[in-house]
Amino acid sequence: MVIIGNPFFNNNINVLMGINYNAVQWNKNKKTYDIILWVFILFIMAFMMSLQVIFHPTITLETSIIRTTAITAFLLLHIILMIGPLCRLDQRFLPLLYNRRHLGVSMFFLALIHGLFCIIQFHSLGDVSPLVSLFTSNGDYDSFSDFPFQVLGFLALIILFIMAATSHDFWLKNLGPHMWKFLHMMVYFAYILIIVHILTGALQYESNSIYVLLIAVGFVSISSLHLYAGIKANKTDLTIVNSHNKSLHFVCTVEEIQDDCAKTFSYNNEDIAIFKYNDQLSAVSNICKHQMGPLGEGKIIDGCITCPWHGYQYLPENGQSPPPFNEKIKTYQLMLIENQIWVDVIPRPEGTTITPVKILQDGSR
């Protein structure tokens, strides 16, 4: 294996991979990302508020803020939900995913402004506390059209808060990737809550069908993208057809794997990526320790398997992040029979060194 460059002393990667926790680990890409994000947010909000004044000059400032923040946050939520499948379909979208956390936190703050203004406007200065009012003023919980829609928005805001509060790698490390992933998959539940919040709230007042159409376009776009990316991912996963014994399985031929790339496949609960690099083969878990990203969609960069999502790196022969990092993933024993790659699906403990399988000139071991 040849390591090109020296990733171990790269400052950017040091802060990225969680040796030191900073509130924000700024680099040029993150700064560019945030500038574009906030130009977009401020532009859309200013544009929408201007339109409100032009078309509806008697609107109050509070109503304008409530509507503008809600619509901008909902638009951002659509972008957030599209980024994942877009990256699975085309890796050129990966720069969008790299700093998605800032997109999510910004979206939460807009939703929070919307929520606070609504609570102040509609529920405060009354004969019960604002939170009690939110849950009890409208008691029609058994009706769809009269449902107390604010409760749904409040629950969605709580989910978005939990996600924003735990978005930092500090929480990923402390909660563990599975719990962290579970919490952050709740965004889909929040999205559904928000759609029903709009349908049972604003759209019970604003009756023009254009609003239902806009929501439907957003929902169908997100669902279709996820469905298409899922189908495509299933097609690229290999299906094991031949077994040598209980644990040794034929996967593919050497020629089917591009240099510095991987083929992925699943067997029972094992998600495995086989990388070809420097005329040798190694098999590791397909799941990154950071945010459970698809390592098999990454590449060998500077001698390391590099996760496409946030650039976490692992040495292919032992699944260990290069020092000083301490992430470890499972490794798998490979066997090459002529040009056929066979894998033992029983994993070795995380970080176990397995000598890479050499590919000879004629394609066999």
Partner: protein, 257 residues
């Protein structure tokens, strides 16, 4: 997925040109979608009414205080050719004036029929005027001892059936936009629960009609109306006019049916 394309790594400063070009197109698309969506969403919104309320813009007004059907200030210009204005009084926040008037009367005696000077935030819309007693009991600036008028006589009662919506007049006539419908339901419930007079908004050939809702004996029945606020309902009762405001007296049990 084309693996031969340049591979993006976030912690490296350089973004591959293939990614950069696609992301530029994506950003352009998002801006375009944002602009088109904004235009559609704002353009097709229901229009807002012309009702007015300027928070913190206090005005001093003089008039005769009437307590029926709810506390109302009758403002008379002194010119017999100009009709009096009847200003419905509401409290600060989501409260009526019952507690405020009671406190004022502790210090000044019965104010009914007395000429007084109040300070508050005017609320105006669709020919109706209201005054928020923003400073609570401090809103009473002066009580004039020159006269105590006897109450105006209400118009004759007629039996009517009206269809429409129960609203809280404070929000509807200017504080909130919109101040009616599902979107405002919880707020209207809190306002009516807090003592702001419940008003029935109905429509006829002359436009909208606003009637203060009372019980069969002229008593306040706000608590019995809360389940029906901001919903389309039909009510029957005796209608008349008292101190410039339409009134409808109903049996609230009819709403349960």
């Amino acid at each position: 997925m084309d693996r031969d394309k340049e591979f993006y790594i976030g912690w490296r400063d350089k973004t591959p040109s293939s990614s950069r070009n696609l992301i530029k197109m994506f950003i352009l698309a998002i801006f375009t979608i944002g602009i088109i969506s904004s235009v559609l969403i704002v353009y097709f919104q229901k229009p807002f009414n012309q009702h007015q309320f300027t928070f913190g813009n206090l005005a001093e007004v003089e008039g005769i205080l009437h307590k029926f059907p709810k506390p109302i200030l009758e403002i008379n210009s002194g010119d017999a050719n100009i009709e009096s204005k009847y200003v419905l009084l509401v409290g600060y926040g989501k409260f009526g004036t019952d507690g405020i008037i009671a406190e004022m009367e502790k210090e000044n005696g019965d104010l009914a029929g007395k000429r007084i000077k109040l300070i508050g935030s005017p609320i105006k819309g669709d020919g109706k005027s209201l005054l928020e007693l923003s400073k609570k009991k401090e809103s009473l600036l002066q009580v004039y001892d020159d006269t105590t008028l006897s109450p105006n006589s209400p118009s004759p009662k007629i039996n009517v059936t009206l269809s429409g919506e129960i609203i809280d007049p404070k929000c509807y006539f200017g504080v909130m936009k919109p101040g009616e419908g599902k979107i405002h339901k919880s707020c209207a419930i809190r306002c009516i629960s807090g003592g702001i007079p419940a008003v029935f908004k109905s429509a006829d050939s002359m436009g909208f009609k606003y009637s203060i809702i009372l019980g069969e004996n002229g008593e306040g029945i706000n608590e019995k109306l809360l389940d029906y606020v901001a919903e389309k309902v039909t009510i029957s009762g005796f209608a008349y006019t008292a101190n410039g405001w339409d009134v409808i007296q109903i049996d609230p049990k009819q709403l349960d049916q």
